[in-house]
C-alpha cells in the first residue's frame, strides 16, 4: 500500500495548477468486486466519483474533480482503500491550463 511521506513543512517547489481533470480509471480488487461492498460504499460517498460497470475483480470509475489537487487526493484515497490492489488509467482529459511551472 502506498504511503506518502509526512513532513511538516515540505515546500512546494512549483506553482499550483488549476486544471480540471476528468479521468476514467480501473480499480482492481484482490478478489471479486462483489466481495468488497464496504469499499464500494466508501467510493459512492465521494461526490466526484461516478461508479461504472464491474466484472470479476475490476471496477470502472470516473473522477470529475475541480482541481488537480483534489484529483490526486481522490487517487490516493482510492489506492489505499481496503481490498484495492491496483489503480490504472484508461483515459484522462484536462483543461487548457494543465500546467505547472
Amino acid at each position: 500500500m502506498l504511503a506518502k511521506p509526512q513532513f511538516p513543512t515540505m515546500p512546494l517547489l512549483f506553482g499550483e495548477a488549476s486544471a480540471v481533470p476528468i479521468s476514467g480509471l480501473i480499480v482492481t480488487f484482490q478478489s471479486s468486486v462483489a466481495e468488497h461492498s464496504n469499499t464500494i460504499a466508501v467510493l459512492r460517498k465521494i461526490p466526484e466519483i461516478d461508479i461504472g460497470e464491474s466484472a470479476g475483480s475490476k471496477l470502472a470509475i470516473v473522477i470529475d474533480s475541480e482541481t488537480k489537487r483534489r484529483d490526486q487526493e481522490i487517487w490516493d484515497t482510492v489506492q489505499q482503500l481496503p481490498g484495492v490492489i491496483d489503480l490504472a488509467v484508461a483515459m484522462v482529459a484536462f483543461d487548457e491550463d494543465h500546467q505547472a511551472n
Binding site: K4, M10, G15, E53, A55, A93
Partner: protein, 808 residues
Amino acid sequence: MDSERRSFLKSAAMVAAGSMVTSGTSLPVVQADEGVDDLPVSDGLSWNKAPCRFCGTGCHVQVGIERGRVVAIAGDKAADVNKGLLCVKGYHVGGILYGKDRLTKPLLRKEGKLVEIEWDAAIEIVAKRIFDSPKTFAFYGSGQWTIPEGYAAQKFMKGGLGNNHIDPNARLCMASAVTGFLATYGVDEPAGCYQDLDECDVLITWGNNPAEMHPVLFSRVTDRRSRGETVRIIDIGTRRTRTTDAANDYLEMKPHGDVAISLGIMHLLIANDNYDKSFVEKHCNFRGAEADAPTLQGESISEEEFRRRIAKYTPEHVEELSGVPAEKIRMLGELFGNHDIRITSLWCMGMNQHTMGTAINSLVHGVHLLSGHFGRPGDAPTSLTGQPSACGTVREVGTLAHALPGGRIVAKPEHREQCEDFWNLKPGSINEVPGYHTVKMFEQFTKPTAEGGDITTLFVQVTNPGQTLPNLNALFNDKKGLEDKFLIVSDVYPTATTQLADLILPAALWVEKNGMFGNSERRTQQWFKMVDPPGEARDDCWMTIAIAHKLFEMGHEGMKDKNGEFIFAIKDANGKEIPIWQFEHYYDTNVDKHLFEEYRLFSTMKHKNLAPYDEYVKARGLRWPVVQQEDGSWRETRYRFSEFDDPFVTKGQEFEFYHSSSNDGRAQIWFHEYAPPPEVPDDDYPMWLCTGRVLEHWHTGTLTRRLSPLNRAMPTAYVEMNSEDAKAANIRQGEKVVIESRRGTCELPVWIDGRGRPPRGTVFVPFFDETKLINNCTLEAHDPFSKQPDYKKCAVRVVKKTPVKVPS
C-alpha cells in the same frame, strides 16, 4: 471547459474505463486492428498513437489533440504492452510539454550571464568549436534519444568526424545488461518478452522494484492473481519495497549478495543432480574468467572444472556471504530444479549498477540455462530498462563509445568497412579506437587541458549528467581551470546540467516531433509529430544535422561522402536536395523515415531485422527480428533462439544460439568468483547507501517535477532510515540530516520506515531531486567490462544537522 463538453468527456472516460472492465475477466486480448472507436472525436478533438515518454516498458498511449494542444491521454487498447492501461506517470504524460519554464530560445553564457541568441549563431558557434578541434569534441546522449536522433548522432560522430567519443547515459543504466547478454549469448537483448509475465508460475525480482518502476508490467502479474491464478513472487533485495509487499517471499541480502545467491543455486542444481542435463548437453558450454587478464569472452572450462569451482558455494557459505538463510537458498535451488514450473527472473538497476554487473548478469542467465528454465513462455531471464529507448537507440543503434549500428564494434575492421560502405564513406573514415565511456568522458572534460583533459567541447542532448553522474564533485561540479572548456546542452527545461552550460539549446519534446523508440522487449515503436514545440524549441535530430551541414559548408571533409555529397543529404522525387538543415524545411520530408530506412540496412547482421518504417506506422510496435513472410506481411518474433517462434533457428534444433561466442550454437554458463563491493562500511562511514527512483518521479525529475500533482505527492528527496538506526542516533521523523561519504555530502529530511524499509545499517536516497544531489556522495567505481558505475552501494555516515542536546 463548458458543462456540455465536460459531460461529453466524462461519458467518454466512463466508456474507456468501462470497456476495459467488461472486455473479459482478464486484461483484454489485443487485436492488431483494434481502433480507438470509443474515444471522443467531436469538438475538434483528434487522437493519435505514441509510446509513453517515460520508462522502458513502452506503454502506448492515445494522445488527444485539440487546437494544437495535448488535452487528453488514454491508454491504447490496441497496444499489447499495456492493453489499454497506464500508470500514474502515464496519466500525466501530456502535461510534461506545458511546464511554464520551457526553454524557448538558444542561450549563450556571456560574462557569466545567459543571453538570448539566434539559432544560426548557435549552430555556428558549435560548428566552429568542432571544426577547430574535432578530436577533442564529445557527444553525450541517452536512451531518450529517439532511434533516428541516436542514429544521426552516431553517423555524425563515427562516420563524419571519425571520432568515437560518443556515449549515452545508458552507460549508467544498463551497460552491464548488455555485457551480460554478450558474454552469455554472443548477442545483446532478452530472448523472451512480456508474455513471460503472463505465463510464469514463479517471478523472481533480483534487486528490482517493478511495482514502482514498471508498474504496468507488474500489474500483469497482480492481475493474474486477482483472477485466482497462483503466481509466487520472490523478492530478493537489500530493502523492502512495494514489490516486497506483494511478494510471497522476501529474501533480504547484503550488497553483492546476489552474486553468492546465484552461485548457490547453481551449486545446488549440480549437487542435487537436478539440473537440465539434456538442455545443457545440447545447448550450453561452461566458461570462466581468465586468471591473468579477464575478458568478456573468458575461456572455456569443462563441466568438471565448473563443478570443482562451484563446490564451495554451499548454502551455508552463501548465507555467510549474502545474509540470506541457507534454507532459503535451498528453497531457490528446489524451485529451479523443478522442471514442471516456469520461472521468470526480472532485474534492472540493482544488478546493472554493480561493480560485478557483467558477472551477476551472466550468473543469473547461467542459473536459467543450467536449470533449463529458458526459452519457453514463462521461463526467462529478463532485464528491464529504465529509459524509453535504451534498447532501441543505445543497444541497437549502438550509440556507445565502442559500438557501431546493428551490433557492430569499432575495433573490428570488417565492421568498420561495412559501416563505411553503408554510409558511402571513404575507407578508413571510422576510427578503430573506442572512444571514452561516460565516466572517462567526464573525467577528461573536467580535467584542465594542461593536465591532459583532452575533451574540450561537450555536447549533451536529452539527459542531465549534472544530476546523474556518480561522484559529482569529481566528475561535474564547477571547477577552476576549465575556462577553455565549452559545455553545450540541449534540453526542454533548465536542469542541474544547464546551470553550468556555456550554450543552451531549446529542444522539442515527445509528440512535438516525429520519433521512434525501442522498448525492453525488442519492440520498435513509431509516432508522428502532433503539436508544435513552444517558441524556438527544435528537434535534437535537426540540431545534429544543422551542425553537420554547417561543418560541410566550412569544408570539413568528413561531412562529405565519397561522392562529395552531404552525409545526411535527402533528395526529393526530382533528385533535388531538400535543405533539411534549415528548420523551416525540416518537415518538408519525413527525416525520421529516411534515417530509419538507412539504419535498417545495419540490422540483419545480428538477426535484429527491422521492417520498413511504414509497417511501424500501422502497428503498436513490432518485436525484432521482424521477417517478411511469403505473403508479403511482416512477422515479429516473441521468443528468440527457440525453434517454435524464431525463424532463424535451424529446423530440428529446438534451441539455437546462433551468435554464440564459441561459434557452436551454444550459450555460455559462466562461473565468476564472488568478490566484495569496492567500498564497505567501516568505523568512519558505518552505513550502506543505496540510491534509486520513486514511483512519482521519472529519473532526475526534469519532467515529472513540473507536474504539480506528482510533485505534491513526492515534493522532496529524503533519506529512508531504519527506525532502530534512527533511534540509536536520536534522529526523529522529518529531521534534516547530512549524508556524508568520502566524496561529498547531501542534506536531506529523514523518513523512518516509510515506503521503503531498509534494514539496520542501510539508508536509501532517491536521486530525482535537483535540490538534493545524492550523487555528490556516490562512487564512480565501475564494472571492468561494462564501465557502469555502482550507485547501489557505498559507505556513508548520517550526521545530525544540529547537535543532540544531552540532558544534564
